[in-house]
Amino acid sequence: MPLIEISHLNKIYELGENKVNALNDINLNVEEHEFVAIIGPSGSGKSTLMNIIGCLDIATSGSYRLNGTEINDYDDNALSAVRNKTIGFIFQKFNLLSKLNALENVELPLVYQGAGSKERRERAIEALKTVGLENRMRHTPAELSGGQQQRVAIARALVTNPPLILADEPTGNLDSNTGSEILTMLKELNARGSTVLLITHDNTVASQAKRIVRIKDGCIDSDEEANP
């Protein structure tokens, strides 16, 4: 069973009188343990696709099955639960809560799972160790560099052990050195068994993945193994 199973998926935005077909008949399967890059220029619909895969938005029509369950019928709360347990998000803008320190940020998904404070602490520390930030746990995002902030975000994505890691332009706000560090980290995560979905507009970033899906004008343009 594929982890992600998308068939005949459409997304139509209504902007006043106009209807915009952001996604047009998308068919995409992603198996477990894959490392897939979705690449496309801005306006291609890749962000819309990423929002739907990330359960942040639902499709207008078609089917999206994640981990075997149909997502399109879910309500707001059920989507929250799916995001919480099944998906680890890494955003371009890091999206850490500025008033919480690194540890508290990483703990947050576990808070919404209702985990006890001791368990949260242990698992968050574990995740921060994985990204090499065990010495920066008490720092707030403002006291961390961009690369460190993104590593905190990765730790936050890891802490619930989700089957799917969704990285939306994770290197977009970083210089190339830090960016490649982050990519190496994603590769390591994939090597340890996580399914990683990387959304980017950058060919060099995408080339780090094992499989590259090109998207253009709301349609899948090409879907091929990356050249090693």
Partner: protein
Amino acid sequence: MKFTQAIKMALMSILSNRMRSFLTMLGIVIGISSVITLIGLGDGTRQTITSSIEGMGTNLLSVSLTGNKAKSLTDTELKTLRSYSSVKGVAPIITGTATAKSGTDSYSTSVEGSVPEYSSVRNINVAIGRFITQDDVDNRYRVIDVGVEVLQNIYPDMKVSEYETLIGKTISLNGSSFEIVGILESKGTSILGSSDNRVIMPQTTAERFLQSKNVKTYYIEAKSSDDVTQATNDLNTFFTQKYDGDTDQYRVMSQSELLSTSSQTLSTLTMMLAGIAAISLIVGGIGIMNIMLVSVTERTREIGIRKAIGAKRQDIMLQFLIEAVVVSCIGGLVGLALGAGLSLMVPMIITGLNVSLSPNVMLMAFAFSAAVGIVFGIYPAGKASKLKPIDALSYE
């Protein structure tokens, strides 16, 4: 999400915006403290008045002859009144004012002319000396029982322990001299006025002294408090007969009636004052709602992040609602403390005013402040919880 965690989050957010939280609370603080103080003042006043009315005797009834046909009751009529089984005593009373002189200073005092029964009917006790006697009344003796305040005015330098020596001395009222035969027990001062600034003299003496032949007021003491209703009925029957059913000619009032009327009036007044103060609570609540709405807009991105990583609607709802409730509850507690402090200070500044703080009122005020938080927090919290994560995340 666990409830304790939600409270922790709310407290963190309140503390991270101290100035704003403080200003938001201020409305509630002012509202609660004024409600507490005003209710305390109202209750205190009611208690003072109630106890001073009760001090006059709970079995007391009064008859006022109000009509133009009104004439003093004859001795036979008084006898009839006294013969009722529900009536223990009847005391006619003439009142007026007189000027007491001492040296060059003069003081105004009230004069009451009555009979020996007045003492038991009105619950008036003599501290030193004796009350006026039937003999005084029959012979129109110029004797008086004096209230403490009159003595304090006339002899400001004299100690209370030396008042004994005044028995048998004379004082001058409106230029005529009266012999002091007794000194009245102090009844204290209330906002109704002082009951100690008075002299009591025989009815017959007063008729002459005040140049008033007509007694218009009679105090009647019922046998017991259970007999008050019977006595009221008996009196009504008597006077209806006397005036051929013309009820405008007289008015029978029982003390308990007076008590409940005044108590009711004051309660209404208190509630009105508290109601006005409660308006400021509502204004405070609107302040909370306003700030919460701003806060929701400001924190749209935070809400988006929280939702993206798994916060459910009720989690966000709870977080913002608890924030509003915690702000209003802290405001309520501070308001309680401030209100209690003010209530304790008022009697120190204004004498004669009593304040009564009841735990019930304080509990209710606190509950009300929490309710304000819920009522005015629910809309902003709902608004926050309904934000779509995708819109909230892209919010700049």
